[in-house]
Amino acid sequence: MLIELNHIQRLYRSDEVETTALHDIELGIGSGEFVAIMGPSGCGKSTLLNILGTIDRPTHGAYIFGEQDLTKLNEAALAAFRRENLGYVFQSFNLIDELTIEENIELALIYRNMPKSERRERVAQAMDRVSIGHRARHYPSQLSGGQQQRAAIARAIVGQPRLILADEPTGNLDTENGAQVMDILQGLNDEGATIIMVTHSPSHADLAKRRVDMLDGQIVVSVRNAI
């Protein structure tokens, strides 16, 4: 098992109002899996993904990655964990407006001690992989949504992470661009990357190897897709 979530709970407390975004989540994900998470709006999908990505902390429970309990790590160690192991793709792309596409992608490597030349090379490879190389010097605002999402995927894979997290990566895209993104993700999975993806599209969910359905902060079913 690459990932094990034990009794994960997440409470949000704001001005006397308490929301339980996640109830007692139990989930194991093996290396090389491609998991699609589905469920109605507000059921806690993004929260779960954020916890898996260590950019949010569970209120309760343990998150074991490999041999390590990540909930026991401090800030700096978590930052180091993220830059070594994780890649992210967001629904709203989350590229930095002031940086070029190339620089945005390089950002995923910049916090590692990597020589400039190697960074350049890897960025070029990643851009080729998603066919965005000809837009390297452009700013995000000069690209279409599909191009921006491909750039975001290039940024997610440039560090060769073991786990890729994607929160509605096709949510802002038309059918054609959505299909392209799904293609790339499938290709990455074929090469061995573990992928966890949140989606509202049943057809995209069907492209994953396994499907997890959530409701009100709980996992209701987890089914392996027939291939």
Binding site: N50, I55, A76, R83, F90, E98, L107, A108, Y111
Partner: protein, 808 residues
Amino acid sequence: MPSLFSDFWRLVTRYRLYTALNVIGLALGIATFLTLALVARYELGWERWYPGASSIYQLQADIRLNGSTMHAESLTPLLLPGVKARIPGLVAARLEAAKANVAIDGSHTGQEEVVTFADPSFFDVFRLGFQNGDGDTALRGTSNIVLSDSMARKYFGGTSAMGKILTVRREGHTRNYVVTGVLAPHPSNTKIQSEFVLPLPEVAAERPCAEQWGYFCAETYVVLPHPGDVSSFSSTAHDVFTTSLSGQKGTGNFASGTKLILDPLQATRFDREGRAADGSSRGAIVALAIIGGLAVLAAALNYVNLATAQALGRAREIAVRKVLGASRGRLIMRFLGEAQVLAFFAGLLGLALTELAVPFMASLSGWPVEIDYRWSLPVLFGVVLFLGGAAGAYPAFLLSSFAPAPVLAASRMPAQGRFGSRLRMVLVGSQFVFATTVGICTLVVNAQALHLRDISRGMNVRDLLLLSTDRHDETDNRAPEILDRLRAMPGVEAASASAGWLDGAHEVRTIAPVGKSDASFIVTASSVDGGFFQTYGIPLLAGRLPDFRRGEDVERSERHQIARNIVINLTAAHRLGFRDARSAVGQTFSSGNQPEDLKTIIGVVADVTDINGHFAPSPTVYILHDSRFGGVVIAMRTAHGALPGVLSQLRTEWPTLMQGFPFAPIAMTSMIDEATREDVARGKLFAIGAGVAIAIACLGLYGLAAFNAERRMHEVGIRKTLGATTGQIMRLMLAQFLRPVLYASLIAWPLAWVFARTWLAGFENRIALTPLYFVLTTLLAAALCALTVFGRTIGLARAEPSRALRAE
């Protein structure tokens, strides 16, 4: 209008931080400006407030004496009566100020005061207001006296001073005067002393200034209402001067080349180098005025900066207003109005701050500056209008220029792209240029002031006590007895009586290398006793000290024996053309054209610097006297740590020791503190200016950091998601702000260097302008910047990335 205020209030409550930073910044700028403007107005307003000030002139002279020129602010008292005889109806007066003991009606417990003997026409020249009595008659009787209101209160308390008797004792003469007038309070920025004004005594011997042509000691003022009168008056005065002198014996020396000068009274505050006698200078005032102006400018920049930053946050509001049909012109008016209202409140707060600052500053510096509302309010009004208009203009045009469609469509706060963020950095940078420049100058000015206080003055200033520093013939004859008693006190190591040194009554002579009378120069001649050099701790550089046992060393006035052997200081030796102290010893110089005027140098002592440290040491000859000094300064050196004991013994022995003198021994170090007080005060004033400049700059930075934190929140979330640590984020943010601060230093350094050099050039004894001041200030600015940004950014850098991303 009411809607403007209510809208303004909504804005204030909505953008509390920005509004507070803005108002505080503007108020600080306004208060600094107003305070420094009041100081500058005071300093530049000397004498200007006298009615008819512009037609009052002071008659002065450039005296030629044996080939050297010397400027005299006073003239011989004989001149004015001669001129008056030639110009009927001339309004003019002589003034002879002197220290005297003033007591109520014959009492023996008087106090030491400066009294001003003057012609009865004094109040025709200086038309001061009277509380009681009037200027036309107050001085008409020979035993009348006019008091200032503060002196009337000091001597007579609540009761009326009019008709009361005051006893004035001076140089052995005692006279009673009847108070015939009390002056109304008047501004203190005048050199004319009018605490006690009384007629010149009829007996010439009782006047402070000798009635002789060679004595330049009576201040002479004339009123010339028409500018055309100036040249005709000058030629008449000059004519009287030369014709009268030509009939005098012994004055031919300086008659021929001496020039009378008619200086407007208002111009007499500063000398030709722009320096005032109290150490103030035109340069210093201009510097303060510039700081005041720059403070307003910094506040304006701060406003522009924060307002444009805030404007971006209001982009949506403006876009909505535009969609609803507001025209650009109306929007501009609206934002200008907002700026004006903000400036108005800042003006009120600034005035309140000034109210606090002015008394504080007055107590700090001793400048009796007051807030004159008739002057301050119009100035304040002007500054508020300027700030509201000038500072409000750019944000108003920027805000109103947003095109609604892209703003409404954009998900994120617009940042005005690279131009906008660069502009904001330039604005903050400018504020730091100002802050850093003033900061460096402040360090230099303060270091120089401390330097002036602490420089070696060529003598040992510690444990040195002065008993009297004023001219008093009474002590003359008793000096030997007083000194003997002082030396007998336990803890006293040496004591000395001298004249022409510290008492401001030094005798001026000219000397020249032998056979080169054209190379003559003016020296200070001090009369000293045998213990002088030991008491003051003035080191002998070469040769020997004068000795009473050698007749050639001593000047005995009663028998008219004149000393042939003389001790001079190093500057005099250099001016005489000797390379060093050693080579001067045994050599001669001439002090006139008689045979006995040939003097032999037996010793050279170290130079002694002015008490205030401003000026270069003057060439000095020390003459050993065995009796009458004509004004005595008594000094004693105490053993280290013995001062308290000596003081208490002095107090017990005082009545028999120094009969009739107020008990006021003063340590040399206190005298130095007093003499350098203005320099130190000016340093503090600079420090306040610098503090405000830095505070405004930091306010701007804080606002910008807040704006930046808000705008970059999302970016920080992304960076953290990609594995950046809190430390890396902080470094990124700090670098963004440190860069303009460091660039600002690059501009500030040369600016400050030019200023500091110009400033220091005004001092003969000055500190070296080392890089230390520059580096230190920049480090301080960087540290403050880091702290400010840190405070505003650390929360963001530490937040969970998911929260930052959600902030979209």
